[in-house]
Each structure stands twice: as C-alpha cells, then as structure tokens.
C-alpha cells in the first residue's frame, strides 16, 4: 500500500476466504443439527482423573481459555504487535501451534459430553448462548486451520479467523465455567 491508495485484494481472494468460512459454517451447523436431533443420554461417561464430569468440564474449559490466551499473546508477538522490535524467537511459532493444538484437544472431552449427554439447549439465555458459542467455536476452528494452510489469502484472513476462534472460546467459557464458578461452586479437581 502506498500513499492514499487502498490495497484491495482481488475479488477471487475474498471468494476463497468466504468458501473457507462456509466450510466452517457447515461444521458448526452440523454440530448444532446433531445436538438437536440426538437424544441426550444425560449420562456421565467419564471423569478421567477428575472427581466428576462437571469438574472435568469446568477445568478443561478454563485450561482451553488459558491456552487461548497463550495463542493470542504469541500471535501478537509473531505479528510484531507486542514485545521488542527484534524478530521473534524461532520457537515461538511452534509454541503458538502447540498451544492451539492443546487448547483444541482439551475441548474435545468437554464437547463430547455437551453434545452426547446434554444436547442442544435453548430453554434459557445462557444455555442457548453456550450452545451457539460451542457450535461456532468448532466451525471457526476449522476455518482457521484451513486459512493457515491456504495460499494467497489476504493478510487479515488469519487474524480474523483466529480472532473468531478466540471470541467463541471466550463465549463458551463465560457461559459455562465462569457461570459455574459464580453461581454454583468453585469445584475441586
């Protein structure tokens, strides 16, 4: 970009990003449909090393949020928005990938119980928001992974996709773990 000219990406670039966003939207929609159609089992199929499934979900959700925070900080450093003017250390990219991968991994047992045992719930505002954020999170995550691997997308595509994932994760946490901490209990492990 030079002077007052605006560097607009060619239209096909925008279409490519829209296509990736549509794939993510399809994933989010599929999860929502599954959760709506599937009969909730209302079971607690696992606790891993926690004392209860609810404890597992509350703390795994919180861990995912913390790892999401690591994602944000490392991404800002990689983009040169924070820290020194020097180039970021070479391991920072790997740390960003690892924290994102682990954040996603710890959401899986949480989401499994939500989808399989509880299903899509819309009877109250919190449950509805949590259901929507949860579906949106996985759709945004798929879009972000595709954007990372896609070639020729504009520079804003990856931050937008990553921001959408983190926004969804924050929404999921606010409507589940934080709600639990503030209205029910501060559970042990």
């Amino acid at each position: 970009m030079t002077g007052a000219t605006i560097d607009r990406p060619p239209p096909e670039v925008g279409k490519r990003f829209a296509l990736l966003a549509l794939v993510g939207a399809a994933v989010a929609l599929s999860l929502g449909v599954y959760a709506s159609v599937h009969d909730p089992t209302l079971e607690t199929p696992y606790t891993l090393w926690f004392t209860g499934t609810i404890n597992l979900k509350v703390w795994f959700g919180t861990l995912a949020l913390l790892l999401g925070g690591v994602q944000l900080l490392t991404a800002l450093r990689l983009y040169g928005k924070i820290g020194s003017a020097e180039r970021p250390p070479p391991w920072l990219g790997d740390l960003h990938r690892l924290s994102g991968t682990l954040a996603f991994a710890v959401t899986l047992p949480v989401a499994y119980h939500c989808l399989w045992a509880l299903g899509y719930q819309s009877d109250d505002t919190r449950s509805l928001a949590h259901s929507l954020f949860g579906c949106f999170f996985y759709g945004a995550f798929v879009t972000k992974v595709l954007v990372v691997r896609a070639k020729g997308l504009p520079g804003w595509a990856l931050p937008v996709a990553g921001g959408a994932v983190l926004t969804a994760l924050v929404g999921v946490w606010l409507t589940s773990s934080l709600w639990y901490f503030t209205t029910v209990d501060f559970p042990g492990f």
Binding site: Y34, H38, D39, P40, T41, L42, E43, T44, P45, G52, T53, I54, W91, D94, R97, L98, T101, L102, F104, A105, L108, A111, Y112, H113, L115, W116, A117, L118, Q121, D123, D124, R126, S127, S176, Y180, V184, D185
Partner: protein
C-alpha cells in the same frame, strides 16, 4: 520442537476422528427399550400366579438419580449445570413435593422433561430420594 508439535497435532487429529465416531457409534439404548422388561417365562408366570397384582414395585431412587440426574445436578446433589439439590435445597425450592414432581415430569428452563422416559414410580422414588437422602 517442530517435529514434536507435528506429532502432537497428528495425535489430536486422531483423537478428533475418535471423537466424531464416538458421537455416532456410542448410541445407548433408547429409554423405552431400556425400560421394557423382558417377557416373563412360563415358569415366572407360574411363580407369580398367587401374587397380588397391586403389590408396588420397589424402585431405587438413588439408582434413578444416578442414571438420570447426576450428570447435571452432581453425583452428590451439590449442583452442576443444574442447581444444587442437596442439604435441603430441593425442599426449600419445592416445599410441596408435587411441584418437584411436576418439574421432573414436564421439565423447566434447561432441564429436560422425564415424563416420557421415567415411570411415575421412578419419578416418585427419585423425588423422595432427593428430598430425604441427598
């Protein structure tokens, strides 16, 4: 470091596949199927011939609670994604047991209705259990 992250990503990818498959393959028996008792054998019918038909069937309220309520209200009733029931909380919320039975039967807010999956005896048993035992 890069190779380690690659390995972790492949493992998580495999876990994601398992996650998706489990959603579809881990379907439990429907409540109606699970609740349907097996057809009595001829010997059973002979044994029952002298029984009083009105004899109430004993229902374990704790088992009903564990199977249907604990995932949301906590195994000890201390709450979860549903409110706490233990330590008299459910009695405070529903001084009249009939109101609690109505909520269990018809559902409310985020709580599903159990009128279609639990018998009246099971609902009564779990109501008694939550009020007296938790």
């Amino acid at each position: 470091m890069k190779r380690f992250v690659d390995v972790v990503q492949y493992l998580v990818l495999a876990g994601t596949v398992v996650f998706v498959l489990a959603l579809f393959l881990n379907e439990p028996a429907t409540p109606d199927e699970a609740a349907t008792p097996p057809a009595p054998s001829a010997a059973d019918q002979d044994d029952d011939a002298g029984d009083d038909e009105d004899t109430p069937v004993s229902v374990d309220g704790a088992a009903v609670y564990s199977d249907n309520c604990a995932s949301c209200h906590g195994s000890d009733g201390s709450g979860g994604f549903g409110p706490a029931l233990a330590a008299g909380a459910v009695v405070d919320a529903f001084p009249d047991p009939a109101d609690q039975i109505a909520v269990i039967t018809d559902g409310r807010n985020g709580m599903p209705d159990f009128g279609g999956s639990l018998s009246p005896e099971e609902i009564q048993a779990v109501t008694d259990y939550t009020r007296a035992e938790l």
